[in-house]
Symmetry: C2
Subunit: 741 residues, 2 copies
């Protein structure tokens, strides 16, 4: 009996124990921990990234490009409207589209030549006989180049006018070029011919007018575009080089955004400044021409031999002087006549916007943008980038529609209009949604031209984002190699970092060359610009040679730039990988120590170049040094805090707090009053420099150089002021990285 | 046996079941739901608020005030340093102090009279005999008024100089006052005497100089300060009214912040503009005097009778004209001599900062501030407010030190320096920490003078914060009544709201009268200013009569302003309750629909006053109407979202998202380029108006009125531009209230 009782008790104890264990472990605890606790701490999913990378398809990329480049699609043209509809169709596709897509129109000030009255460049002798007329159209080699919608080459925003005068060669149209000519020559009443490069398009004309020049021609010298090749047989369609009749179009304006509505979104009823008040555009008629025509003019000029650095690849010695044609020329005593009929017009330009809603932090945006408008067919600029964006949205859209994925943060895609006229679509967008975007945007990824050439990745970015570009590029194979995009990149362009050793060299976004400018400079959003590029050691080309010409077509792109579309794919994979990491990472993949390293580089350059000169004026750089030190210290501290955190088990608010510190880091460098003469530049570290070429804090560099040239006390005061401005910005940014209270 | 087996099985089953139940319910599930899940969703605790309100003690308030007012404590004086040490001691107290407290010094430009060479106002006849000299000090009635540290009355920032001329009465020194005089009089070379009120202190002098006036006297007319009472027996120490020799000191500067370092924190090595470049200060020597002395001058003046609205309570008919004294006066043919010896000096001024770290969202700040510096003893201005702040920190500090409470969000207390010279301490603070404060500050509560008088609460605030002030004031008893502070308030000042019916009237923060200005106008932080005030129907006093005089002492405050310190207590309870709600509420107690109502009021005023005039110029207000409509719609939408949410069970990130929308609402109205002529004003809705008195959008009102007076096309253009600026700001703010994506 005792045995039975014992057995029974034992059974009972055992049953009791098993019961407790089952009760504790086997009943559902899910109800007590809300689902969002897990969602909130979920990190980027590497298998999703792998799937995404695998799905990006070269055939889709090719077909995107083919469709986008069927007709010319200059901003606000019928072709442009066609691309608007195409984008909308793709982004509203039920199987591969985005959550939502729509268009947003702005009424913007554009400039066009007169189709019925084309701009004319001619040589006219004293008897009024026309001895020469420059081509009005580029010579067609393929049927699409014969499209009547191919716009005549012109200088957008240059005024209409009829001017004539003796011709003079003015190299690149820099101030120093005109000054050199001006030593021996009266430039008043002349027409100048300049080559692209060295100075901004519009700057060449603004400088010229200061010397009394009445009209300006601009051409592309084969030296810096064609590696010296000039003959038709060496150029497209026989190679990637620019044919002799090719002409680079472009916007001849310095400021970005709609020129009539500074700092205001160009809605229908927005106040517009008088057209006469527009600054930064040519004050004199200006017209670009091809180098075949330029040669006919330049090689007939009179004068002494120009300096070596003025020489180019046209078939003669370039002359300094004249003005006018040499005595032995059939053009002797003739004037150049320049007749331009450009008109400014208000037109509606569309951005196409598309979104994928974030699941955990919908109020955090990763923005990915590319402009849609071209000068002609724009196969490379910008459609190579549009093709990439559409392929990224196809793959992501499909994953969303199939319920396989939804990003942690929201993703906004922007297809910007009228970029070619001065980043207008993106600038108006940032003006209209200034507050919302400032408050919520994590990053802006720009892919304009995605493939310049097929050698290597090229990236420019805020230092905060260098790391995520590296991470992404390490996961992508470089086409035509056995290396990763990262390893391949490092072979073409690298630098030695004190923290990492040799790493790829990422540029800084100091200019306004594409739509990143309103985001980086005006909004202070951590931005990046990504593309595939050529081997700098193999060519002197300023850019891919068909740039802004009628030759930038599907044939050109698919024959000479990226035949297999593998470079397109590599960019899609790299930029798309960056996009996914920014959208899905629990902790934003931004690095503030890398930012500190960049500030130290800038400081070191400033100290080397300027400290003695400033000290001689009694101006100290100590406050700036202290601020950079403070930034470095607080950056290290935040890095340590991140490293020491068990992120997956941290509270969502703690993660959000750190993410806000990282997201808003670039914002902390904004000062809307730092650069009163430069439209839209508010980021005191990366703003475009006015004149200095020293790679350091822009306001300081420009101010010191100006003070050195004038010697005026008030200019040295400005240098001191810029030390205080940048010191306060850096110290202010440092405070945002420190303990939050 | 079967029975035993059955029993045993039954026992086992029972044991098993009990085990399961115990296992499920009796073991600790706390581990599975992290603590922070509960913390993150905890709302404001009403019992904590009740405890807090109960602890605020009138005796403590009285003793704070007594200690703070023992000696004069003008900015950067020894007395000021004494208050710095007192604040630090209190905030670092182990039993009742804050988590941390420290001082932050700025090197700021102040202006002082010369102790050894006092400013002089005299009447001198042609034979150089001095016939009259104004008092250099106010007549003392209590020992503390005899303190040698009582600063001579002076006009801070008015220049040193020795000028003389015929005296002329110029009423309030408005442009219209000088224009009226100028019709019949040559003001060049005269000395003008003006009364306080109607125009800013400095503006009286700037206006005067435009007409050639060489020196300015300013006095307080008993009409608008003493309800007409002028005799010594009717004034302090016999009542709250200003004694005949009392002189209002003040800063004669228009801009706020350190005048030498605009937009830069005034650190030791910050760039300083040349003193000659300071704008907004008197161009001519200026000196304030008492009405006893003013009467001796004004009543001897020659001329016709001045208009009725120029008359005051001095014992004579005020004259329009002269210039100079009447023939029957002993001063006939005499000049007034004004000799000022003020000097500008760089001095270190301290802010004292103290913090209580937030537990859940430490990166969100509620800032509570009060200035510390006075002109003399400053019992009411500002020490009544400092006494309140110290009592609030004592009670909160004690709760924190005893582990009974810690706020959800961080609380920052600021004891600002050099406010009297132009909000300098608070302005420098906002300049130095611009980014951090912009990103994280939920609200700023200003209590400068806490008790002007003991009739009723007075509050001015961003519309977002009206609701929380109402909530708080309903929970506090109004001293001397059976009503709540809210009910009592409504009896003194109310309006009819379309949404709520009759409610207390809350003012808007449209000026720069205290330290809320840098927060509201420069940073766009939702701000409020709270005090106890007098019954407007019982007195015409511009302000409490001892304002900025040597009579603003502990005796004055405790005898005439708030004998029982119950009004101090009511303000401490109301402002402290607001502070606790802002710091602890799960959802920020801000209301965007109330904001919409205010915008509608402004729009309606603008339409009534300006629409026809604008239409006559072809300028439409439709875009502005559409923007206000959009704002109202999105505000209602957000309100609905909040109402429909089960906040206690929402994810912390969802709550944070809504809180960010509410926190950043005022920020969305900032435009750093909207008011280029007004230092630090960036909030396009609440900025100070330059000239207009229409209660509507300031840039629009000023621009339309200017255009109406000049009739110039370019001025109407500016009106159109301001419609676009305010339209874009309101629409931009509306976008931030809309669905986050």
């Amino acid at each position: 009996m005792l045995k039975e009782v014992l057995l029974c008790v034992l059974t009972g104890v055992l049953a009791f124990t098993v019961g407790i264990l089952l009760g504790h472990f086997a009943t559902d605890k899910g109800g007590s921990v809300p689902d969002w606790v897990r969602d909130a701490s979920r990190d980027v999913d590497e298998s999703i990234i792998k799937t995404f990378l695998d799905e990006l398809d070269t055939n889709e990329l090719r077909e995107n490009l083919r469709e986008l480049t069927k007709v010319p699609h200059m901003a606000t043209s019928a072709g442009d409207e066609g691309t608007v509809q195409f984008l909308l169709k793709r982004w509203q596709d039920p199987a591969t589209g985005l959550d939502n897509a729509w268009r947003e129109d702005y009424k913007v000030y554009l400039s066009f030549p007169d189709k019925t009255n084309p701009n004319k460049v001619s040589v006219v002798n004293p008897e009024s006989t026309v001895l020469f007329t420059a081509r009005e159209r580029e010579k067609p080699y393929t049927p699409d180049q014969e499209d009547p919608e191919v716009v005549q080459p012109f200088a957008a925003y240059s005024p209409a006018g009829n001017v004539k005068g003796k011709l003079v060669f003015a190299n690149q149209g820099k101030m120093s070029d005109y000054e050199l000519l001006n030593r021996t020559l009266d430039l008043r009443g002349t027409i100048a011919i300049t080559r692209y490069g060295g100075a901004g398009r519009s700057t060449k004309a603004i400088n010229a007018a200061k010397f009394g020049v009445v009209g300006l021609l601009v051409y592309t010298d084969p030296y810096e575009m064609n590696d010296g090749l000039v003959s038709e047989s060496d150029t497209y369609p026989h190679s990637w080089y620019l044919p002799p009749t090719g002409v680079e179009r472009g916007s001849y304006s310095i400021d970005f955004g709609d020129l009539l509505t500074p700092y205001l979104a160009a809605k229908d009823d927005t106040y517009r400044i008088p057209k006469e008040d527009i600054t930064g555009i040519p004050p004199i008629p200006t017209q670009p021409i091809g180098f075949e025509d330029a040669e006919k003019l330049i090689c007939e000029l009179d004068g002494d031999d120009a300096p070596d650095d003025w020489q180019g690849s046209l078939n003669c010695k370039y002359k300094l002087g004249g003005p006018g044609f040499k005595a032995t020329s059939s053009f002797n005593n003739s004037n150049v006549h320049l007749d331009t009929y450009n008109t400014g017009r208000l037109e509606h330009s569309a951005n196409v916007m598309g979104i994928i809603r974030g699941s955990v932090e919908p109020d955090r945006y990763v923005i990915y943008g590319n402009h849609r408008d071209s000068w002609v067919h724009g196969a490379i600029d910008p459609s190579s980038g549009t093709a990439v964006m559409l392929e990224i949205t196809r793959v992501l859209g499909k994953m969303v529609k199939e319920g396989k994925w939804r990003p942690r943060r929201s993703i906004i895609f922007g297809s910007w209009g009228a970029e070619e006229f001065g980043l207008i679509g993106s600038a108006e967008y940032t003006e209209e949604y200034f507050s919302k975007l400032s408050e919520r945007t994590v990053a802006y990824i720009n892919v304009d031209i995605s493939v310049f050439a097929n050698a290597t990745l090229r990236a420019s970015a805020s230092p905060a984002a260098h790391g995520v570009i590296f991470t992404a590029s390490k996961q992508v194979d470089a086409p035509g190699t056995t290396l990763s995009v990262y390893e391949n990149w490092m072979q073409y362009s690298n630098r030695t970092s004190p923290n990492y050793g040799i790493i790829p060299n990422v540029g800084f976004l100091t200019g306004a060359g594409s739509d990143y400018a309103p985001f980086m400079h005006y909004l202070g959003i951590t931005s990046m610009d990504i593309s595939y590029y050529y081997d700098r050691t193999k060519t002197r080309a300023r850019i891919y040679p068909a740039y802004h010409t009628a030759y930038d077509t599907f044939d050109y792109a698919s024959t000479y730039i990226d035949p297999g579309f593998t470079s397109h794919q590599a960019v899609a994979r790299t930029a798309g990988n960056v996009l996914l990491r920014l959208a899905d990472s629990l902790l934003l993949p931004f690095n503030c120590t890398d930012y500190a390293e960049s500030l130290q580089r800038y400081l070191s350059e400033a100290v080397t170049t300027f400290e003695q000169k400033l000290a001689a004026q009694g101006i100290s750089m100590e406050s700036l040094k202290t601020a950079v030190k403070l930034f470095s210290d607080t950056a290290s501290k935040l890095d340590r805090l991140i490293r020491d955190s068990d992120l997956a088990n941290e509270t969502p608010l703690k993660i959000r707090q750190i993410n806000d510190q990282l997201m808003l880091l670039d914002r902390a460098f904004l000062d809307p009053l730092a650069f009163p003469e430069q439209y839209g530049f508010r980021h005191v570290i990366w703003a475009s420099k006015m004149s200095s070429s020293v790679p350091t804090f822009p306001g300081l560099a420009d101010a010191v150089e100006k003070a050195m040239s004038t010697g005026l006390k008030e200019d040295w005061d400005q240098a001191h002021k810029h030390i205080s401005i940048v010191t306060q910005a850096i110290a202010g940014a440092a405070h945002t990285l420190d303990d939050v209270i």
